[in-house]
């Protein structure tokens, strides 16, 4: 069997394993879905009136629902990524991983199984969060092509952050560490254009917000879904996602291949 077909076959076997885990223990999926939904409701119904007014003369709560949704979608991705780090760290404590390492299989398939499983899980979360966003006043103007492009952008950032969280799960020596390490990621949509426009921020924060990877992703999503300007953000978002994916894939692979037995 060629390396590629071996990789595809073993990865899909491992994907089935991860999907079975999720189906059997769905509480994790619901928990990870719950966090962005709560933040969405909080920002639309508690802060939304005031924050909406800050968007411009005609700004109100419904306009803020539109503004905040791309940021909430990224919160969804980050929240699911935290779940990935936890489940990878948990998996590594299982004896079955040692068995996989002694089998003649595509070696990173344990990891690709987690990544693909998390991709499915995150896409389901994103769909659920989008439905709630529509219910609370999100009114996208996207045509079908723009919708597809938006889904592509979300899949891309999910893929990148999932590889990051797989690496974080592997580098953690305990499940607790794995649950804490991705925490700072949830701040990135706040320290970017997710909740308020960056030009309302003080210079130093604004500089960080403009150049961190989440902002171009959120701006691209906003442009695709709501028709605001995208500019160079699309390209920058793609580059960021590619760099994070490749870097974290190599990192995760190296971590998995090292001798863990002490």
């Amino acid at each position: 069997m060629s390396t590629l077909s071996l990789a595809v076959r073993d990865s899909s076997t491992m994907l089935r394993r991860n999907l079975l885990h999720m189906r059997r223990y769905p509480s994790m999926t619901f928990l990870l879905m719950g966090i962005p939904i709560i933040i969405l409701l909080l920002f639309v119904y508690v802060f939304g009136g005031t924050l909406g007014a800050g968007l411009g003369p005609s700004g109100d709560r419904s306009q803020y629902a539109n503004y905040v949704t791309p940021g909430i979608l990224l919160i969804t991705v980050v929240s699911a990524a935290q779940g990935t780090a936890i489940s990878v760290a948990m998996d590594m404590t299982e004896g079955i991983i040692a068995r996989f390492r002694t089998m003649s299989i595509f070696r990173p398939s344990v990891l690709t199984g987690h990544v693909l499983g998390s991709l499915v899980q995150t896409m389901l979360s994103l769909a659920a969060v989008t439905v709630v966003a529509l219910l609370v006043g999100f009114r996208p103007t996207a045509n079908p092509v723009e919708w597809l492009a938006a889904i592509g952008v979300l899949a891309m950032i999910t893929f990148a952050l999932t590889w990051l969280s797989v690496a974080l799960g592997l580098v953690s020596d305990s499940v607790e560490t794995a649950s804490n390490l991705p925490m700072p990621l949830i701040l990135l949509p706040f320290l970017g254009s997710g909740f308020v426009p960056t030009d309302s921020m003080p210079t130093a924060v604004r500089w960080f917000a403009d150049y961190q990877p989440f902002t171009p992703v959120m701006e691209t999503l906003r442009g695709l879904l709501l028709g605001t300007g995208i500019g160079a953000n699309g390209i920058i978002a793609v580059v960021w996602c590619a760099v994070i994916t490749v870097g974290c894939f190599l990192w995760a692979k190296a971590l998995y291949n090292r001798n863990r037995t002490a």
Binding site: T13, R17, G95, R99, T102, M103
Partner: protein, 325 residues
């Protein structure tokens, strides 16, 4: 077990240290195809490390090893295709059912669907797991878990199986069931390297036994050869009266008598043949014996004799040891 048979595992001068703790201090192994080889030793002797190296889980610091001619470090995948490992800690997926675990293995061994199904049905049946197949593994007992673990190892029909303490923590009945399975595997021509702390287990199962102590092999041979390393096999005859003891003592020259206990200790290897000869001698001399007990040196005696003291040394730091020759 002739030397003309294929070596399944050949290891030369395996070394491994963690920091300044030497775990393996130059191990040589030659395991013939189709035999059961037992690696015996106390906790911390390096048994698990040896298995981890030979099963490609970790790299040795020095030395080399081959499995059916494939070098462990240069051709790990060729080795992995030939071996199966059942480790000390159960290598099963606790979130899946028993059958799902086996399906996972069949898929990873690239069996086609029909062949995989047949193999899984056979293994479930053979390991008495058919009834529990649909239940999550987290509900299994220790013995069931260990059986499933071994069944998973067998899905790919490996030619070499590593069993790291396969019966540790099992009740006597499960232990015997596991022994039965291991013997059946060897009968099919599978080569088995097992580690154990139970000398009886090695005695029961193994064609050859090696004693591992502080990262070195201190003795190797068949259980019989090893037992011959130490003296002490004897039969104790118990008599009802002094007269019986006297006449028996006249019959068996080499015996040592204990007048107070009315017993006679006759040197013997404890085998059936020598026992029969002994009884025949008693019969023909018309000596009546009120009791008889056989004392054979067991591997415990061998191990304790070889290591010089009970295995309380297991926790002793390595740097206190005498320098290696």
């Amino acid at each position: 077990m002739t030397s003309s048979m294929n070596p399944a595992i050949v290891a030369t001068d395996l070394r491994k240290s963690y920091g300044d703790k030497v775990v393996l201090n130059g191990i040589d192994l030659m395991i013939t195809e189709g035999t059961i080889f037992a690696l015996l030793g106390p906790n911390g002797a390096g048994k698990t490390t040896t298995v981890q190296i030979l099963s490609t889980l970790i790299d040795a610091d020095g030395g080399n090893a081959r499995v059916f001619g494939h070098d462990l470090t240069r051709e790990p995948d060729a080795v992995r295709a030939l071996i199966g490992v059942t480790g000390q800690f159960s290598a099963v997926d606790n979130l899946l059912t028993g059958r799902e675990n086996l399906i996972l293995m069949a898929d990873l061994c690239h069996l086609d669907r029909a062949a995989g199904r047949r193999r899984i049905a056979d293994l479930l049946d053979q390991f008495d797991l058919t009834e529990a197949a649909g239940k999550p593994v987290s509900t299994y007992s220790g013995g069931m878990r260990r059986r499933l673990d071994l069944a998973m190892t067998l899905v790919g029909e490996p030619r070499v199986i590593f069993l790291d303490e396969p019966t540790t923590g099992l009740d006597p009945r499960s232990r015997r069931a596991m022994w039965h399975i291991i013997r059946a595997l060897a009968a099919e021509g599978v080569t088995i390297l097992l580690t154990t702390q139970y000398l009886e287990e090695a005695d029961q199962l193994a064609d050859r036994v090696a004693f591992l102590d502080h990262g070195r092999l201190i003795a190797e041979g068949t259980p019989r050869e090893l037992k011959r390393l130490i003296p002490g096999g004897h039969v104790v005859l118990q008599f009802a009266d002094q007269e019986g003891l006297d006449s028996a003592a006249r019959t068996f020259d080499a015996a040592t008598r204990d007048d107070a206990a009315l017993t006679l200790q006759v040197p013997s290897d404890g085998g059936v043949g020598s026992l029969r000869a002994l009884l025949d001698q008693l019969d023909s001399a018309s000596i009546s014996v009120s009791g008889l007990s056989v004392h054979t040196p067991d591997l415990d005696d061998v191990f304790l004799t070889l290591t010089g003291q009970p295995d309380t040394r297991a926790g002793r730091p390595d740097h206190e040891r005498a320098p290696a020759r």
